[in-house]
């Protein structure tokens, strides 16, 4: 079975269009490492935001640490602005179980108390295991449990989606 995947760059533009009318001057984007960070970078340019984007690596907050251990390539999180009282849009590539978003919110609260957190994702593939909702989403796809979608970036910084079967 082959599935026609949407164009990632178009989905980013669609996301930007959804976010734009609800933007205010203090809003900051935080991308979840690595795919979310790429998307946040592009959103920031397309939306003309002046606040630098934040970057979260949620490895230290994963709920499966006891089972699978530490990811060998942990990247430092970097939040170059004050989280306290700020409106934040978390950005990730694929929303699935919701566990990554849970971990990201836990980490974010260790930087301060944001005014609000919303979620923007390129693909919502269903399969939620936690009460997590994406206010902004590029596309909704129905996928089998053994399929997963991966976001890739080429040398020219162009994003694309690819489907993996296990």
């Amino acid at each position: 079975m082959s599935l026609k995947l949407p164009d990632a760059e178009q989905l980013v533009s669609a996301l930007a269009a959804q976010i734009k009318p609800r933007l205010d001057s203090g809003t900051a984007l935080i991308g979840i490492h690595t795919g979310g960070a790429w998307i946040a970078q592009k959103l920031q340019q397309q939306l003309g935001l002046t606040t630098p984007i934040g970057l979260l690596d949620i490895s230290f907050y994963r709920d499966d640490f006891a089972r699978i251990g530490l990811h060998p390539q942990v990247k430092p999180s970097n939040i170059p602005f004050d989280v306290e009282g700020r409106r934040i849009i978390l950005v990730d590539d694929v929303l699935y179980t919701g566990r990554t978003v849970r971990a990201a919110m836990n980490e974010l609260f260790d930087y301060g108390r944001p005014a609000s957190i919303e979620l923007a994702v390129l693909i919502d593939r269903g399969g939620r295991e936690l009460p997590v909702f994406a206010r902004y989403s590029g596309a909704t796809l129905e996928l089998a449990d053994n399929q997963n979608i991966e976001l890739k970036k080429d040398k020219e910084d162009r994003l694309s989606l690819c489907l993996n079967q296990t």
Binding site: Y61, P76, S77, Y111
Partner: protein, 316 residues
């Protein structure tokens, strides 16, 4: 010996006992993970949930302030429960054997032991004895190794010099009795430092030290010429009056690091010391407190490095 006892069958770190025999990829992984922990100290909440609910026992059979405290801070930053045991003043003096002590602590559901012991191989012995889900970190065993000290030293060097590939490094002082030096030599050679020197009087060098891949010098002027990193060692007080040295003053005259001797090194050379320092014996105050000293940053980096080791072990 068929394999490295600190690594699992698929090469994952189970215990940290020695630097000797660990691959460069693993050392680099520890340093990279430590780098990620550095940012945590700048946040509002300086704690991570990784080791929540784990019990970590600091087992110090030998006195230590810095190492024990930084391990304790590191474990607390990872949300573990830390129990400090000063064994020299408790059961051992009542005659309990080392492994009986360990059995009792394991019965209290210990998840990790951090061990300092005067006997070389003590941490190794404990690691072979404990259940498979319990991890052991060697915090210094006799004259053998002190792996987390070497790792924090490597982190410090990488922080200031970026790469190991072009460095000239000198280790100065009592190499013979130093577990720190042994771990440093293994770490520096594994990470690819092309020129490693040791500078010491003949009486304070182990036999066959050249076989570890180091160049031996007995003269500071020549040994420090054009080095990028100077790693001083502590001269233990019992060595100051003994058959190996005439006196502490004499040692300082020939091997103590002064601004004058440091002038032979590269202008941007950094000066390191594992502490505690003997000012006026192995290092002059003007150097220890001077602009090229990175001795206090070493202590700070030690927390992140120990967080990295503990969280990698706990996840494996």
């Amino acid at each position: 010996m068929h394999s490295n006892p600190q690594l699992s069958k698929n090469g994952e770190l189970q215990h940290l006992l020695t630097i000797e025999g660990l691959p460069a990829t693993l050392l680099t992984q520890i340093l990279d993970t430590a780098q990620s922990f550095i940012g945590v100290t700048e946040r509002e909440v300086k704690k991570l949930p990784l080791l929540r609910g784990k019990a970590i026992f600091n087992l110090f059979f030998e006195p230590s302030t810095r190492t024990r405290t930084t391990f304790e801070i590191a474990a607390k930053r990872l949300s573990a429960d830390v129990i400090n045991l000063n064994i020299s003043t408790s059961s051992q003096s009542k005659g309990e054997t080392l492994l009986d002590t360990i059995d009792n602590l394991e019965a209290m559901h210990a998840d990790m032991f951090i061990v300092r012991h005067a006997q070389s191989g003590a941490a190794h012995l404990i690691a072979q004895h404990v259940a498979p889900n319990v991890h052991v970190i060697n915090a210094g065993d006799g004259r053998h190794e002190h792996p987390t000290q070497a790792l924090l030293d490597m982190f410090t060097i990488r922080h200031y010099k970026r790469e190991f590939a072009n460095l000239r490094v000198a280790i100065v002082g009592d190499i013979l009795h130093s577990r720190v030096a042994r771990s440093q030599i293994h770490a520096l050679t594994t990470l690819g430092v092309p020129e490693l020197r040791v500078i010491a009087p003949k009486t304070l060098l182990p036999a066959g030290v050249e076989n570890l891949g180091v160049h031996v010098y007995h003269d500071m002027q020549r040994g420090l010429k054009d080095v990028d990193v100077v790693m001083m060692l502590r001269l233990q007080s019992e060595r100051m009056q003994g058959p190996l040295l005439p006196s502490a003053q004499e040692f300082f005259k020939y091997y103590g690091l002064t601004a004058e001797k440091l002038a032979a090194a590269r202008p941007d050379a950094i000066v390191m010391h594992p502490g505690p320092m003997n000012r006026g014996v192995e290092i002059d105050s003007s150097v220890a407190d001077g602009p090229r000293s990175v001795i206090l940053p070493q202590v700070t980096f030690g927390i992140a490095v120990r967080m990295a080791v503990m969280s990698i072990l706990a996840g494996n």
